[in-house]
Symmetry: C2
Subunit: 336 residues, 2 copies
């Protein structure tokens, strides 16, 4: 009997130890799923929302296939100041391509870029911007564009933080996406940025695979080049995934309404409305408010990039969650 | 020792029994994963392809995230004769809507539909068809359209098989999709048909959720109606997901090249090329050839719906798999 009792004690001990480990891990996983978020209304609204949609049998329960969450990218997941990353890419590409285009020295908007004259560039307006995008994003295959983007991102650095742009991402939002996925959500990016500009790196950086990236696009054309099929990128706008375009893009790609949406600017207003207004289930709309000029940037109603004006008013009226980066985030970037 | 030996024998017996059960289940699962497919080259090409991409450490191994398979719908997953199901829907809708449109009695292509004059309808050509689609598919919200489609499908019957159209689906292809998913593939529909016409039922019928349906579309517009957001369907073509449009649609929605593609007509040619030509991994292109006039329909190079001409030639040149429905499929419909 001694041996039996001993073995039983050992087994019980092992089980107890395993159980303790499990409890500990569960506490870690569930007790503080958002370590970079400070206690407060914003963090609590996320926890309450997730608790309500995942509690089986409760009136707010939402089955897993309907747990869709959409995230804006620029200013919501990564830094959009001093300018959109994709604009920095376009400017660098113009400089890199300039030797093959001597005519650009005298032609706007290219002259402004080569002269580093941002005021002259701004004066060319939206038309100038579209010209820049087409000159740097089209007339190559989708595979070639992916290589160009990947190569540029490996070398380019944020002018203030001196880091690759893909490191200038918001740690609290990465935790939030992971927390939602751990609770059965599918997470999507729904960005005004170019869909093909994001897909090469979103899985590595955010855990979001290519099929879950929605964005703006130019047209592409299928063709055989030496009997090998390619998609040629054409200098024509296909879709602008911004403002009222975001619900359109969401419907086209996902075919379901999200129950949670995350943005930071007026370009996200309609996405936040689409996810929440008239919803039959609990839902969450959250706005990242850039209030931290010291650790990041402080801007809203007057900003050139990421203007937050109407959506801030709508947040107050609709009781949406507004995150103050300064107050609600203990940590902003992973490298801090 | 006796007790020890006895217990050991019991344990060994239990393990042997568990192992036998496992072998049996594995045999069931792996030995005949495609019960409605007859032994032959077509079935074997599928089994060989799946074996090669799933064998870890082998040169042909493909990681799970890259296992993307795309399926045409009309004529590949469900019956497209005597006419495309969506055309039958449009004709029925014209008749249902006619009382509100007295002018249709004298106006083509509507008059032809109301007169059941298919020859006169055909004479209105592609322009007539587009007019029919716009009159029956637009000027309502996406939510309303979903209701109309769901309601119609619950009542409409295939004229020959006297069954709901969603039962006139190919059992061997349903088994094939399940087999691929069991082997780590994501399965997508990539159809010339309307994306919103398919999404209400593809999950129930094929196990394919809305986000994995790619198709043709009309434009939509976001708006608030009595403060509730809707997407209004506009009478303007947005995207034609057919022929050279299929690789474009695949890239837009999936952002990855499929390694397996399944079609039945010339509208699938470019998708089959995109999945296979110049591929770095093992790949599979398969064409369903409608050769069974008795159990289904027999048609190819001369067909009005689902013409298979160039893609049949390409199959011979490229060594793609061609399925003869008559010879390769023991069962065609689930209801047989």
């Amino acid at each position: 009997m001694h041996s039996y009792v001993h073995r039983r004690a050992v087994v019980t001990g092992l089980l107890a130890s395993a159980a303790a480990t499990l409890v500990f891990k569960t506490a870690l996983a569930q007790g503080n799923p958002l370590p970079s978020w400070r206690d407060g209304k914003a963090r609590q609204s996320i926890l309450d929302f997730v608790a309500s949609v995942t509690r089986e049998g409760s009136p707010g329960f939402v089955p897993v296939p309907q747990r869709v969450a959409t995230f804006d990218n620029d200013g919501t997941l990564w830094c959009e100041h001093p300018m959109y990353v994709q604009l920095a890419f376009a400017l660098d590409q113009v400089k890199a391509m300039a030797p093959e285009h001597p005519e650009w020295k005298k032609k706007q908007p290219f002259k402004a870029v080569l002269d580093n004259d941002m005021r002259a560039l701004a004066a060319t307006g939206e038309r100038g911007l579209v010209e820049l995008i087409m000159a740097t994003h089209a007339d190559m295959s989708t595979a070639d564009f992916e290589r160009v983007v990947t190569d540029w991102l490996s070398k380019a650095r944020h002018p203030r933080f001196k880091r690759p742009y893909t490191e200038c991402v918001y740690q609290p939002m990465i935790e939030l996406m992971g927390y939602l996925r751990a609770n059965g959500f599918r997470t999507y990016i729904v960005s005004g940025g170019g869909i093909e500009f994001m897909r090469p790196w979103t899985e590595r950086v955010y855990g979001i695979p290519p099929a879950q990236v929605v964005g703006s696009s130019i047209k592409t054309k299928f063709m055989l080049r030496r009997d090998i099929p390619i998609l040629l990128r054409l200098p024509q706008v296909n879709f602008v995934d911004d403002g009222p375009g975001k619900p359109v893009g969401i419907n086209a790609h996902i075919g379901q309404r999200p129950i949670a949406a995350f943005g930071n600017s007026d370009g996200d207003l309609q996405m936040l409305q689409w996810a929440t207004k008239g919803a039959a289930t609990p839902c969450l709309a959250l706005i990242v408010h850039h209030t931290d000029g010291e650790r990041e940037y402080a801007y809203d109603r007057q900003a050139h990039f990421g203007k937050l004006d109407k959506a801030l008013d709508a947040a107050a009226i609709n009781n949406w969650t507004v995150v103050s980066m300064k107050d609600d985030w203990a940590k902003i970037f992973p490298f801090e």
